[in-house]
Symmetry: C2
Subunit: 237 residues, 2 copies
């Protein structure tokens, strides 16, 4: 079966669909202006992402910590980072609002027009470790035209656990071979591929900042593209 | 708190958002023309809905049958009804396609424009006993602008089980009092209301056919309207 015969495309979100780093930095800089703060926001964003999300999810995946939602993981680390970076005087409501910056991440320029084209032929959905409400709110904020929201929360397990990829196919009423995993991260794609999902690697050279370099695909994927528009071209949408 | 301060609206679907009866009859009549059949499609539709869905779900709710998806319940009854109505000679693929008429139900005329207005201020989602794939496919087919799909399948329980209403609020990251249940059926609304959800009754006089009469609301609900457009008016959207 050709990848074009698939029925659905599921997308990694943080880094693949949205620019988490640039979005956190922008909201941080706005907070700095409003409150008269001096903060190294790029460093703050990188620490929040790596320690608060990546490391925390890795512990959950290894069974060293119970399953918790991304919102809660982000909120706990945010408290630590505010202290580490000397940010004081925010109200609880202001801290909670800033924690929800992850619900307000901005899409890459090609994400919305690319998804709109892909949606004409395929069911399109996120398949993200972000929690269900985070992904739902993000879609409204960023105008992402998802057909449904698929979150690790629905499966009580984080990618790259097989329960997430297989659970997505099951909820869509499809076989794994009918669901393409789209991501900018090779480990995500390799895990999906091992379960029979077709795979599309999207290069996102600026995920880690303007000086970043594109990580080449580490694996043999069905498609390798530079944008969702190129993905739509290759899938005939 | 006023109902206007809610953050999300969740909708019963079969009968409230879409005209299941008219849609099944129309596809049945098209099948009759294509195959040279003579079938009482209104009776067929009513039996399919009542025996295949309503009765089956009632048995599951009473614990007399294991949880099964609406697609499977529909498919089993469809086999019986084809025999009962003397419909023979359909291939398995044709029967499966006809079973998926429930994925292709047509919205009431006000559903899509009403949801589009309501979506400007509220998260809008189905909260239906239809399975996740059915609701996802229906949204694509009917152009329903949901923000996410909430299905009884996600909770392993059918409305009016409290797990469905409370599970919807939990996935949306909201309190029950922030999630309005919208339905044309009073038992659905009373069950939601008992758990603290605000409620909106929508009159759908033609759910059971052109000779049907509007069932008046059986309960005391926060809003009683005749269409999603009137609901949008009352909610200031």
């Amino acid at each position: 079966m050709s990848i074009r015969d698939a029925r659905a495309l599921v997308f990694d979100v943080f880094g693949t669909v949205v620019d988490w780093r640039g979005s956190v930095i922008r909201e941080g800089e706005a907070l700095s202006r409003a409150k008269g703060l001096t903060v190294d926001w790029p460093r703050f964003a990188d620490e929040w992402r790596r320690e608060g999300y990546g490391d925390a999810i890795a512990r959950i995946r290894r069974g060293e910590a119970p399953f918790e939602l991304a919102d809660a993981l982000h909120r706990r680390k945010l408290g630590e980072l505010l202290a580490r970076h000397g940010i004081v005087g925010l109200s609880d409501a202001e801290v909670d609002h800033f924690n929800r910056v992850w619900h307000r991440l901005q899409p890459w320029p090609d994400s919305v027009p690319g998804l709109a084209r892909l949606k004409t032929r395929y069911v399109v959905a996120p398949l993200s470790n972000g929690n269900f409400a985070l992904l739902t709110n993000m879609a409204r904020h960023a105008g992402l035209p998802w057909d449904c929201i698929l979150s690790a929360e629905l499966f009580g397990a984080y990618k790259t656990d097989p329960a997430t990829y297989l659970g997505a196919a099951r909820l869509l009423g499809l076989e794994p071979g009918q669901v393409v995993m789209v991501a900018a991260h090779s480990p995500d794609l390799r895990a999906a591929q091992a379960l029979g999902l077709p795979t599309a690697f999207v290069s996102r050279p600026f995920e880690h900042g303007p000086d970043g370099r594109a990580a080449p695909p580490d694996g043999s994927f069905d498609l390798v593209v530079n944008s969702f528009l190129e993905l739509a071209d290759k899938l005939g949408c």
